[in-house]
Point group: C2
Chain length 187, copies 2
C-alpha cells in the first residue's frame, strides 16, 4: 500500500488497471500457481520492471489485486430493521469470504502485505458497510451497538473461523452472532 | 499437515527436527527473505529432494515450523479465579501473537497451508488452553462460558485485529473482551 501512496495519476491508473486485469485473466486461465511476473507483464503490455518497481514482487501484486476484488460492490440492503439488515450482511459476508475464491483473496491480501495496509483496507471495507447499516438503523430510531462491537463479535468470529477453524461454519452461526451482538442494545 | 499424517517414526522425526532447527537458525542469521531450500538442506544435512518430498515447498516448510513455534510451552497459570486466569492468558496470547515474531509465525502458518491443517492446529492450541482454564474454574465451582464462546469473543477479536486492524490493540482491550465474555455467566 505504501507504494500506492506515491502513485501518480493517469498513466499510473491505466497501468494498474491493465496489470490487475492481466492477473485476473491469467489466474482464471492457468491458476495462481502458474502465474509469473513476465507473463503478467506480457499480457498487460508493460515491462516486467514496471511491475517490480511498482509492486515489488508477485505476492504484493496478488495482494493488491485481492484487496481490489474484496471491495464491496453494493451498499448493504435495506430490509426494514437492524436485525434483518445486519443478518443479511453477515450471511453474505460469510458466503463470499468462505468461498474458495474468497479464502484465496483473503490469503493473498494478508500474504503480500508487509506493512499491513492491504489487510487494513479489507477491514475498513467491512467497517464502512457496518457503519452504513448502523446509521440507517439509527435513522429509524433503533438502538444500535457500535461499529467496533460488531467488528469484534460478528466480523472477527466469522473471519477467525474462516481462516483457522472452518468446521461447522454456516449461516445459522452468522445469525447467532448477529442476534447476540444486538441483544444488549435491545434492553 | 496431510504429509505429517503419513510420516513414519524414528528417522523421519530426526529429519524433521534437524530441518526445523536449520530453518530457525538460518532465519535468525539471515532473515526469512534469504532462506532457500538448498540452504536448509545443507544446514540440516539432508538432500533438497528430502525436503521437497516431505514439505512440497519452502512455504509449507515455514508453515510447519511456525505451527511448531506457536505450540504453547506451558499450561495456563492458576491465579485463583476464572477472571484472573482468562485475563492473564488473553494478555499473554496478545503479547505473543502481536509481536513481530508472532505475526510472522501466524502468517507463515496460514500461508503455506493448502489444506488448512496448520491453521486448524493453531486454533486447537488456543482451544486446549482455554479448556484447561475453564475446567479449573468449573472445579472451583465457578460458572463458565463454553470454550467456543471464548474463541468467538476473545480469541477471534484478538486475532482478527492482529491480522487486519492492529490500531489500539493493548492489554486493556484484551481485558475488556474477557470481562464481557464472562459477564453472562456471572448472572
Amino acid at each position: 500500500m505504501s507504494r500506492q501512496m506515491v502513485r501518480p495519476g493517469g498513466r499510473s491508473a491505466r497501468v494498474q488497471a491493465s496489470v490487475h486485469a492481466a492477473v485476473r485473466e491469467l489466474v482464471a486461465e492457468n491458476g495462481r500457481e502458474a502465474l509469473t511476473v513476465p507473463q503478467v507483464a506480457q499480457r498487460a503490455g508493460v515491462t516486467p520492471s514496471t511491475i517490480y518497481r511498482r509492486w515489488g514482487d508477485l505476492q504484493e501484486l496478488l495482494s493488491d489485486v485481492a484487496v481490489e476484488r474484496l471491495r464491496p460492490e453494493t451498499a448493504p440492503g435495506d430490509h426494514g430493521s437492524l436485525l434483518s439488515d445486519l443478518t443479511s450482511w453477515a450471511e453474505q459476508f460469510l458466503d463470499e469470504m468462505s468461498s474458495p475464491t474468497g479464502r484465496a483473496y483473503i490469503r493473498d491480501a494478508l500474504l503480500g502485505d508487509p506493512d499491513g495496509g492491504n489487510a487494513g483496507q479489507c477491514s475498513a471495507y467491512a467497517a464502512e458497510q457496518i457503519d452504513a447499516v448502523l446509521a440507517r438503523a439509527a435513522g429509524r430510531g433503533e438502538r444500535t451497538p457500535g461499529t467496533e462491537a460488531v467488528i469484534d463479535h460478528v466480523v472477527a468470529p466469522l473471519m477467525y473461523r474462516i481462516l483457522f477453524r472452518p468446521d461447522g461454519l454456516d449461516s445459522a452461526y452468522a445469525r447467532r452472532l448477529v442476534t447476540a451482538v444486538l441483544a444488549p442494545a435491545a434492553h
